[in-house]
């Protein structure tokens, strides 16, 4: 990964697209329940927007958007959202991942909606994890260091055990 300054054309074309890419990622996430899409795809697209920034503005800038410690925490957090929603259903008296239990209403319409929201929450969890994992993969592999590409700093090595 080179990190000499990219051309201004690239930078000015790429930057404005980033919010749109991110919005699209959320759209894909929201569309996931009844069409192609969902957390996986949304997560990858979201990560791609940050990757684009890193490619055009340089590695440090990209990494600066979502710091290492933050993405490290996001990975388990996303999984936690997933299983937490499942466990919430248990608290509601239903089965694990039985979203209907998230409401006390007996109205089938409402229950169906609950199902919808439950799925959505879970997909959001997936998205968080996927985004942060993708970013970690990208940033760790492209860490710009002259010489031996395998060498890492001591502090990074220590942090690397949290994955």
């Amino acid at each position: 990964m080179s990190h000499h300054t990219p051309s201004p054309i690239l930078r000015y074309v790429a930057r404005p697209t980033v919010p749109f890419i991110q919005l699209y990622a959320l759209y894909v996430l929201g569309h996931g329940e009844d069409g192609p899409g969902g957390g996986f795809q949304g997560g990858v697209i979201f990560a791609a927007s940050i990757v684009l920034l890193a490619l055009t503005e340089g590695w440090p800038y990209g990494r600066g958007q979502l710091k290492r410690g933050f993405t490290d925490a996001l990975m388990p957090f996303g999984c936690l959202v997933y299983s937490g929603v499942g466990a919430l259903c248990l608290l509601g008296g239903g089965a694990f991942l039985g979203y209907e239990a998230l409401t006390t209403s007996l109205d089938p319409h409402v229950r169906n909606h609950m199902h919808h929201y439950g799925l959505m929450a879970i997909e959001a969890g997936v998205m968080i994890t996927v985004t942060s994992s993708m970013l970690t993969l990208f940033f760790e592999m492209s860490r710009p260091e002259p010489g031996d590409p395998w060498e890492l700093d001591e502090e990074d090595e220590a942090g690397g055990q949290h994955g």
Partner: protein, 492 residues
């Protein structure tokens, strides 16, 4: 909450494992350890409660998300996996207790909380394999436990650990991929992934080629994962290089869970008739490799100078003994194999606790450093002696009971040659246990023991508890009754 135990037993440790990276920022390793201990404590409680419930109701079902199988994933608990679940979670708790002080033996401080997270995920994966009633879910959990075990092994103190972890990763992934392929064939043949449905649909399709192929791939894949005799190459380095705490748990339970999976496939999914009527050759092949393992495992162990390697090779023999129960297809034999899972988990867990103590005191695990251990560390000495006797299968220890059941089962199944094989392996085991016993208790008085003092109580108790179990299970019929119930449920 009790009706949700089948899922909570998995979800609680899983969620805790996800919380650890977030929470261990505050309080570090101590927080991480407390969380692991709490989660596994809960799982242990839950699995014992499940065992009790299975005792009353025969089996427990739980549908994920309220979706019934075959649409959804179902968790099914019968006596067999209740037993395995109890084994995995209880040994997990004991290993965690050991780690309270034992982490310092071979892990740098900054790696410890990550290690604990991975360990907890590993235990969760094994429990997931055990409890799930869906073959694909089983594969996913298998991979969770496999990937985490690669990491655990790779975290060993010496650089050989990295290579051991890598080798296991390659071999283990081939095994897992074979299992995945086998499951694919089963799905192709039946269109379902739920074990109960598979069991229902398969008998009509026994002679289809994809059903036969599926069996071959699954069996070979599992044989790799459980280190069945000719496919055990990865295991000695993996066990001996893993950090001490992980190796206690790894050696006591990991391969047994794969063996459990083989029981599941042979008995529940295919049904015992499959091996008898359709593929007697496969039965013979498994029998031969099990017997070869039973003989060669202890024989290879004789040559080892490293305690953990020695124990690892003896595990190759013990896994053969457990797999015997799969192919005997007879109530006594099956019960013997199942019971041997517990018995061997207790004995091998205790022995690895001793290996850990040895590593804590001498920095290595050479067998000859055991010299004079009994003088300075009598509790540890007692642990290694009792567990060793149970490994031999001395009467009144747990090992005897299961071997006896296997021997009677072999006679009733018309495989009398298995009996001398078991005897022979016991005799080989006598030799190395004797060697260890002599070093521990009867080293010449002028030899200065390398182990100069006992390890802390928190590291002694797990070994003592497991060794005590070897005795308790040996003189009570409690475990045997469970194993027989499990065998009956499988053969029904």
């Amino acid at each position: 909450m009790h009706e949700h135990l089948p899922v909570l037993v998995i979800v609680v440790p899983l969620m805790t494992a996800l919380l650890i990276p977030l929470l261990s920022r505050f309080g570090g390793v101590r927080t991480a350890w407390t969380l692991v201990a709490a989660a596994l404590g809960f799982s242990t409680y839950a699995s014992w409660a499940l065992l009790a419930r299975v005792g009353q109701e025969g089996f427990v079902r739980y549908a994920m998300g309220g979706w019934l199988a075959p649409t959804g994933i179902e968790y099914v608990v019968d006596p067999l996996n209740a037993m395995v679940l109890v084994m995995v979670s209880s040994v997990g708790v004991l290993a965690t207790l050991w780690m309270a002080r034992g982490l310092a033996v071979d892990l740098a401080p900054e790696r410890r909380s990550g290690y604990l997270t991975v360990f907890l995920l590993f235990v969760t994966g094994l429990m997931g394999i055990t409890i799930t009633g869906d073959v694909f879910n089983l594969y996913v959990f298998l991979e969770i436990s496999s990937i985490t075990s690669y990491v655990l092994i790779g975290m060993g103190r010496r650089r050989q650990a990295l290579y051991a972890g890598y080798s296991y990763l390659i071999v283990g992934s081939i095994g897992a991929t074979f299992i995945l392929l086998g499951i694919g064939y089963l799905y192709q043949a039946t269109g379902t992934l739920a074990m109960a449905d598979l069991a229902e649909r398969l008998p009509e399709l026994f002679h289809q080629r994809n059903v036969l192929t599926a069996f071959a791939f699954v069996t070979v894949g599992l044989a790799v994962k459980m280190a069945l005799f000719p496919l055990h190459g990865w295991q000695p380095s993996a066990y001996s290089q893993a950090p001490a705490g992980a190796s206690i748990f790894l050696a006591a339970t990991a391969t047994k869970v794969s063996a459990y999976t083989l029981y599941r496939f042979v008995y529940t999914i295919y049904g015992p008739r499959f091996l008898i009527d359709v593929l007697p050759t496969a039965r013979d092949l498994i029998l031969v490799s099990a017997c070869a393992g039973i003989v060669f495992g202890p024989l290879l162990a004789l040559r080892q100078s490293d305690l953990k390697r020695l124990l690892a090779y003896s595990s190759v023999g013990q896994i053969g003994t457990i797999v015997l129960g799969v192919v005997l297809l007879d109530p006594a034999g099956t019960a013997g194999g199942i019971l041997h899972m517990w018995n061997h988990a207790a004995a091998k867990g205790a022995l690895f606790c001793v290996a850990g103590a040895l590593a804590a005191r001498t920095g290595g695990t050479r067998v000859k450093d055991l010299a004079g251990l009994g003088r300075r560390a009598p509790w540890t000495g007692a642990t290694v002696t009792i567990a060793g006797l149970s490994m031999i299968g001395v009467p009144l220890t747990a090992g005897f009971q299961s071997k006896w059941l296997l021997a009677t089962g072999a006679l009733e199944a018309g495989m009398p040659l298995v009996v001398p094989v078991l005897l022979l392996s016991s005799l080989f085991t006598v030799i190395y246990v004797w060697r260890i016993g002599m070093l521990v208790w009867f080293a010449p008085d002028d030899v200065e023991p390398k182990v100069t003092s006992e390890v802390p109580w928190s590291m002694r108790i797990p070994g003592l508890v497991l060794a005590g179990l070897c005795l308790v299970l040996g003189v009570t019929s409690w475990a045997g009754t469970w194993a027989q119930a499990a065998a009956e449920a499988l053969l029904r």
